[in-house]
């Protein structure tokens, strides 16, 4: 039994009396594709924010590759956790290419002087970075938009740019926060294939927060369900679909 890649243990956080997460456990193994679902306000994004260090949990601990995570978000990113944002946090005034290149920032090792003077070492690094970026743009079919300003792109493409930028950091674990929202049915179908490929071809572990149950049921190894900050169920898609607690949580929302 190998240790899980990501281990969330008893994580709780409250915002001014409102309990957003209540002793949540989550164990994700290497190369798994896992979804976290739940009604609005269930705490899904809060969980992501705790993992990424944007929020500090009041209680509980989070370990990655068997070691606790550092506090600062940038150091957590350096450990190999990348994410996308539900509300899109893009460099809107920069081009698609520049956004993705910024994802390479982590890997830029060249000293300033070498870069400023355009020394051979810098050129070599630059070529390697560009190659990686091209692969990612090809993979997500963003080549045609590469020189467009991100802010001018349709929503679906902006979401893909977020994925591209996250991939550029060469993560071990990728957290996707509602990547399909604002997409048409056709775009969603494409997205499903790409998420699968991210795991299959790139070998990246994926945790997905998603509203669209069709997507979730189709691609997840297993699913965790949050409701009012508590995990109410966990299991393979077929079991989750039949779970009475899950059904009532979702029906409760629509009722």
């Amino acid at each position: 039994m190998t240790a899980p890649l990501l281990e969330v243990r008893g994580v709780s956080i409250a915002f001014g009396g409102v309990v957003a997460l209540d002793r949540v456990d989550l164990e994700v193994g290497r190369r798994e594709l896992v979804s976290v679902i739940g009604p609005n306000g269930a705490g899904k994004t809060t969980l992501f924010n705790c993992i990424c260090g944007l929020y500090r949990p009041d209680a509980g601990r989070i370990a990655f590759e068997g070691r606790p995570l550092p506090r600062r978000p940038d150091l957590i990113a350096r450990r190999g956790i990348a994410r996308t944002f539900q509300n899109l946090e893009l460099f809107r005034h920069s081009t698609v290419l520049d956004n993705v290149l910024l994802g390479r920032h982590l890997h830029i090792r060249t000293p300033f002087v070498a870069a400023a003077l355009g020394l051979p070492r810098w050129k070599r690094d630059e070529v390697a970075h560009r190659r990686r970026v091209e692969e990612i743009l090809d993979f997500l079919d963003l080549q045609a938009a590469r020189h467009r300003r991100v802010g001018d792109l349709p929503m679906a493409q902006q979401r893909l740019v977020e994925v591209a930028r996250a991939l550029a950091t060469e993560p071990i674990l990728l957290l996707l926060d509602e990547p399909s929202s604002g997409m048409t049915a056709e775009e969603k179908a494409d997205l499903v294939h790409r998420i699968k490929d991210i795991r299959e071809e790139w070998g990246i572990t994926v945790v997905l927060v998603e509203h669209d149950l069709k997507i979730v049921m189709g691609i997840s190894d297993w699913i965790a369900v949050l409701d009012h900050g508590t995990k109410i169920a966990q299991g393979p898609p077929e079991a989750i679909q039949r779970d009475p607690q899950v059904i009532s949580a979702y029906l409760g929302e629509t009722a």
Binding site: C52, G53, L54, R72, P73, D74, L75, A77, R78, A82, R83, F85, N87, L88, E89, L90, F91, R92, H93, S94, L102, G103, H105, L106, I108, T110, F112, A115, A116, R165, A166, T169
Partner: protein, 291 residues
């Protein structure tokens, strides 16, 4: 025509000072939306530090470098020990905090160096002049314009051509996203504060030989730099430079041909005019944040 050229050259010298001040203001505004009202006082403090060291027979370059370093350290420390702990404060709250720093600094300077004006020894002379086809340029002006241009060029290189500059631009646009990509936003903020403060200090050192040194020396240049920043577009670095030169030249030409006393009024009129036609400033592109 020669007369006009004369005014323009004078304006270039003043303009490069305004541009330097404006650059520091814009640099901070871009990264954190904070308008730093202590910018002028930090600059004056840097000048006083250099002045004190010069009095102790420290070579000019070393004294100025120490002054700029002091300003940078003060700016970065202010971010780390005051603004950072108060990060939950509203933007307006933070701006008021910088106003507080301004008051504290001017108090400290009054106590330490007194309110008297001091003569700041400068290696370039105001009276030794060059002639360029009829236009007279003092050594001091040439030095000011040259130093200003060099610093602006350096800033451009830093922001546009280095990894550090890339990180600065990323943090300025979206700090959360930048952090998610592994960019240490806090360190970048501190560095930006240090850099902006040092730029202000450079403006202070270049200004001191012209206006004499006292704790309130930067009051007018700070307001002009601020105005230049707004004129150029408060979030645009090239805008700050353009705004600074336009303001400096227009002021000087107006003072020469029309009225010296009303030159500051003209600055105001130009700003109102530009902002009426282009609310975002000449080169500005105020980020519209999502609602």
């Amino acid at each position: 025509m020669i007369q006009f050229g004369q005014y323009v050259v004078g304006g270039l010298a003043t303009g490069s000072l305004y541009a330097l001040v404006a650059l520091g203001i814009v640099l901070l505004y871009r990264s954190s939306r904070v308008l730093n009202f202590a910018h002028g006082d930090i600059a004056t403090l840097a000048t006083f530090v250099a002045f004190t060291l010069l009095g102790r027979a420290v070579p000019f370059a070393a004294a100025v470098a120490a002054g700029l370093l002091a300003a940078a350290a003060l700016g970065a420390a202010f971010f780390f020990f005051v603004l950072r702990p108060a990060r939950e404060a509203s933007l307006l709250g933070k701006i008021v905090i910088t106003l507080g720093l301004a008051l504290v600094l001017s108090g400290v300077m009054l106590v330490t160096w007194g309110a008297d004006t001091q003569v700041f020894p400068f290696p370039l002379s105001d009276t030794r002049v060059y002639r360029l086809g009829g236009v007279v340029v003092s050594e001091m002006s040439v030095g000011t314009i040259g130093a200003g241009m060099a610093l602006m060029g350096l800033m451009y290189g830093l922001v546009q051509r280095t990894t550090l500059g890339l990180a600065m631009r990323a943090v300025a646009q979206d700090a959360t996203a930048a952090q998610a990509l592994g960019i240490p936003a806090r360190r970048i903020y501190a560095l930006t504060w240090g850099l902006a403060s040092a730029l202000g200090g450079a403006a202070g050192v270049l200004l001191a030989p012209v206006v004499y040194l006292d704790p309130y020396m930067m009051l007018d240049p700070f307001l002009k730099g601020f105005a230049a920043a707004v004129l150029g577009g408060i979030d645009s670095l090239p805008g700050a430079v353009v705004g600074g030169f336009i303001l400096g030249i227009a002021e000087n030409v107006f003072a020469g041909y029309v009225s010296f006393k009303f030159k500051t009024t003209l600055a105001f009129a130009i700003i109102v005019l530009v902002l009426t036609v282009r609310p975002e400033g000449l080169l500005g592109r105020e980020y519209r944040r999502r609602v």
